[in-house]
Amino acid sequence: MVLQNELDTKPILNTKLIKDRLNILSKEENISKWDIGASSSNDVSVQVYKAEAKQLKASQRSSVTLRVWNENEMIGITSTSDLSEKGLKKALISAKAASYYANENERPNFSPLSKSDIKVKARSPIKEFGVKKLYERLKQAESDLINKHKAIIDVPYNGFSEVNYERIYVNSDGAERYLNNTQSTLYLYAKAQEVNRKPRSSGSIKIAYSSNEIDIEKCIEEAAMRTISHLDYKPIKTNKYLICFKPEAFLDLIDSFSNLFNARSILDGVSLSNKDSIGKKLSSTLLNLNDNGLHKSNIGSYEFDGEGTPTQDICIIENGKLKNFIHSEATAKQFGVLPTGHAGLGAKVSVSTDWLVISRSKNGELSNNKLDHKNSNEEFVLIENLNALHAGIKPSQGSFSLPFDGWHVKNGIKRSIESATVAGDIRAVLKGIIDIEEKQIETHSGVSPHVWVEELSITGE
């Protein structure tokens, strides 16, 4: 019997079928303890260029991570994309073989919360656009965006996609989790150029549960407005400036240094925090930081993590003090706490953030007059996007040096910055927060207000 054939009917990931199959196969291999995390997705995506189809793509992907404990309680892990009976059997055998090379000091177990009650959102099927409609809408969006301004010459980076996906977690102790979801994404990045001036680029992303819910007009408007706003650019003098981070930029920066509150990083020795950092001051008292994977703005939310632990709203920083780390089962055990729902199954169980939510603490002390990026007479640099995060961040050292898109604001006048880099140390940034604006903005990667930082180095001309 081939499991893949049975799984061809929807849903692709049938937890009961996989559980039954693994129970049989594991007995055949003398394996008494195992767990499996799997995901499967169907996606369709289109890209266009100058009213032509650039790429039309459809794919079905499955990914399975299987863990096996041997008789010495040591763990072996195998990943595969083969959901057939043969594939699962091979994965079981490989994982068992790998378990004999496991690190004796690392003995993950099932999450104690893998069988706790959770409420998985019931998601009814949505009507998909399909490739033809996605292509037509994107082609129209490209044309509309180019027509927004004479300087917009093309939209070199664009895409419209829709995906439906499923995720499961099952273990030999009886845990059984399943969720499914849908997501549609539209992105438009335009290029604009005026005579004898350099090309400028910016764009917008919109994410929703279905293509019907994507606000295409708003995406076009935002992409045009942002791109045009950078046409009038000027170099900036290398110096130290008062900085205002827009929500997307600050979220990117914090997430890049999530090793500060990631228990896995602490145990691996690559965090700037340590086991005793809880309760210590990490930032200005103005900052509150939560990780809430189930926040309403998180379209791609999961109700449970790779180990079956329920996703939770974890307070990480409150009034500037570190309150909690984020954990997998193994790190939580070492810290004597419960897992927080941040585990990802892989060759090693990883720990990562879900959906950061930043807010202004009610009890924070302002060290300056209240700042407002729209109505400030201060001279400051408004950072819209940080780029090259993979290259310019040194998480284990705390330092960063990143190119950015933004504006130099002086006497209330905004001027796009030609090309510049912002550099500093994350600890100094967090402690140097002098104001956080009231209004929280929901972005495609988290929630944050505008955040003001006292002084950072800008390299321009």
Partner: protein, 378 residues
Amino acid sequence: MLNLDPLSIGKNKFEGLKNLRDYGETKQTHFNKIPLLNEVTERILKGTSLLKEKGNKIEVRRGTYSRSNQEVIVASSDGTFGRDLRLYQSIGLNALAIDKEYRSSIGRRYGSSSNPDQISEWNIESSVDEIIDSANNMLYANFVEAGQMPAVLANKFGGVIFHEACGHLLETTQIERGTSPFQDKLNQKIANSAVTAIDEGLTENAFGSLSMDDEGMPTQKTVLIKEGFLKRFISDRAGEIRTGNKRTGSGRRQNYAFPAASRMRNTYIEKGNYAPSELIATIDKGIYCKSMGGGSVGATGQFNFSVEEAYLIEKGKLTTPVKGATLIGEAKEILPKISMCANDLDLAAGYCGSVSGNINVTVGQPHIKVDSITIGGR
């Protein structure tokens, strides 16, 4: 509907597949020679043990090994029928040195293709010594001062700048999008006469070498820039159809889930006639970038690269180590400023992520001198 104009390929009637070109036939034995996983583990553990033994400030050590076997078959309606077996191996060592509030992190990667013996040929002691030396030098380094200055970029992974800042802009994927400043510069001078740049897939055992590309075309040596003049673009099948630039055996993809695109293979600047010390001797005040971190290129051609290990150049000599340096610029402005190339071309393995997924590549260059570049710092 696509309105593509087939220039030389793509519209002929399908008349069946040609005879199979089997590049994998001679490589079957590679797989019998691959070391067992426990042998590899022991070698990697020896490396991390040596880091601990020799580096008294090294607090965190990590060794990694990855091996990828790929069997590729390409069959297409233009008659192409090819098969290849690909073996890639890479070894990485990373170290984090800590002393009170001071920290430095250094990593090195060694990679090969079609070389089952790589792990046994790897000189562990020399790799460990190099990493410890760099980590110790950078541990107490001061932050570099931002500004414009001349720079000497070391060989091997220094070539990542050319790869990112120029190489990607020579791919037909960029030409199609109109995002390359070089799209209308064929046979024009875009770089200093000192610069000759190559992209090829032929160097034996290099990480970016291939017998055939992912569209079944044998790879070749492609001269991109000859003594400053732009000579060729890096082209795949769709790139040829869309831009008219002949294919160069550069259609590559991570696996079958991605459509192939024009991608680099082993990309490097050719060696010149100078000793590396001669480049440094010409600079009164500048920076020597010994080891590069990663980097990126923006949609309009600006690049930004972090420098992992750097030293000040003062009066023609290397002096103090500095950290936090970032190289910032635009390819079309920097290429004319590469005024000297040394005689020590060397290659380094890396991974490149782009439209057709993550692929193995090699970057490289000799030591080069850039007359002036923006250094981001504090």
